[in-house]
Symmetry: C2
Subunit: 200 residues, 2 copies
């Protein structure tokens, strides 16, 4: 009886979001209720506007208010290069660098035996048909350097090599992060950076 019904539901809804637990959810719910006009109502408005206007791009899987998304329809992007990412967050991270001017394909995750993520649960078929139908010259597999990410890289490489078209396949470079100190890096990264050293 100490927490009212709708409040309880709200706290449970917040506690299910990534990075939040029951305590932080309670704190957020209380903050929203005590600053109704400056926090609660604007959040509801922003959520409703997002729910009705933001859609998943049918071509690349990005989130945008227009279909296809603004990356897919942009002029001046290299339509011969496809960057394969696991999530929309990764797509945005690459876009923020401003260093890539090709197109994207969002897999919606990476293969994971533990979590039961099999190839048919990822956007693999749409990737292959884009590669076959489009004039794709290079596919960049921009996946995480984790076991699951690299399993996905191997799987996609095999599937792409099966295609009749001759496509260049590449992955992100491994090495020392820019600004990173050697002392704090793991052995695997240092060994990889040594093996792939660049001549000056």
């Amino acid at each position: 009886m100490r927490e009212a019904g709708p409040l309880d539901q709200l706290i449970r809804a917040f506690a299910g979001l990534p990075g939040l637990g029951p305590r932080s959810a309670r704190r957020i719910a209380l903050h929203l209720l005590t600053s109704r006009d400056t926090a609660l109502l604007p959040l509801i408005a922003a959520l409703e506007k997002t729910a009705e206007s933001v859609k998943i791009c049918p071509v690349c899987g990005n989130l945008d208010t227009v279909e296809p998304c603004r990356v897919c329809r942009a002029d001046g992007r290299n339509r011969g290069v496809l960057c394969v990412v696991a999530t929309v967050a990764d797509l945005w991270a690459i876009e923020r660098t401003g260093a890539y001017k090709g197109l994207y394909h969002c897999l919606g995750g990476v293969l994971s035996a533990l979590d039961g993520i099999t190839p048919d649960r990822l956007n693999v078929d749409s990737l292959l048909s884009r590669v076959v139908q489009g004039q794709i010259e290079e596919v960049i597999l921009a996946l995480s350097a984790t076991v699951d990410g690299q399993t996905t890289v191997h799987y996609l490489t095999d599937r792409l090599h099966e295609q009749p078209a001759q496509i260049k396949i590449s992955r992100l470079a491994h090495g020392v992060p820019v600004g990173g100190e050697l002392d704090y890096l793991d052995d695997g990264t240092i060994a990889t950076a040594l093996k792939s050293r660049a001549s000056l």
Copy 2:
């Protein structure tokens, strides 16, 4: 251009909530959009229901769907004891213990010279009029053992002593937290626990 307008607004609304920053806000927004039916729409529904049904209790400042709140209108509570708390979160924390059966008064914060929280911004006047008008025998000042909390305790003690009625004023005990190890406690807590030692 990488993040669409409404999405940007949503991320900014989340980033303003306590405990969240731009990165965790972006993660939550992406999670909501990729699990629209299981996360986004239930959250909107919970927020809307809370916004329209949960109100601030005009008597004690608690949040509930009924006015006055269910603590204030409950039978079998001791109406002669008033527990003064800083926030609704503190009220709920005390209610969860089940150890208190009196009424509450929510100040809405504590005095803070740094943050410009003066007595007129807290629910002090309503506390004094409740004490004068009601048959209050004891006021428990359940405020944090911080500088601001204890400043508020001193201020409220002075104001309550000015009242004509003879009221017992108490504060929470200071000492070793139950389950706490002495080795990890600060000197101030150990010194207080020694000074207020209980005879066996």
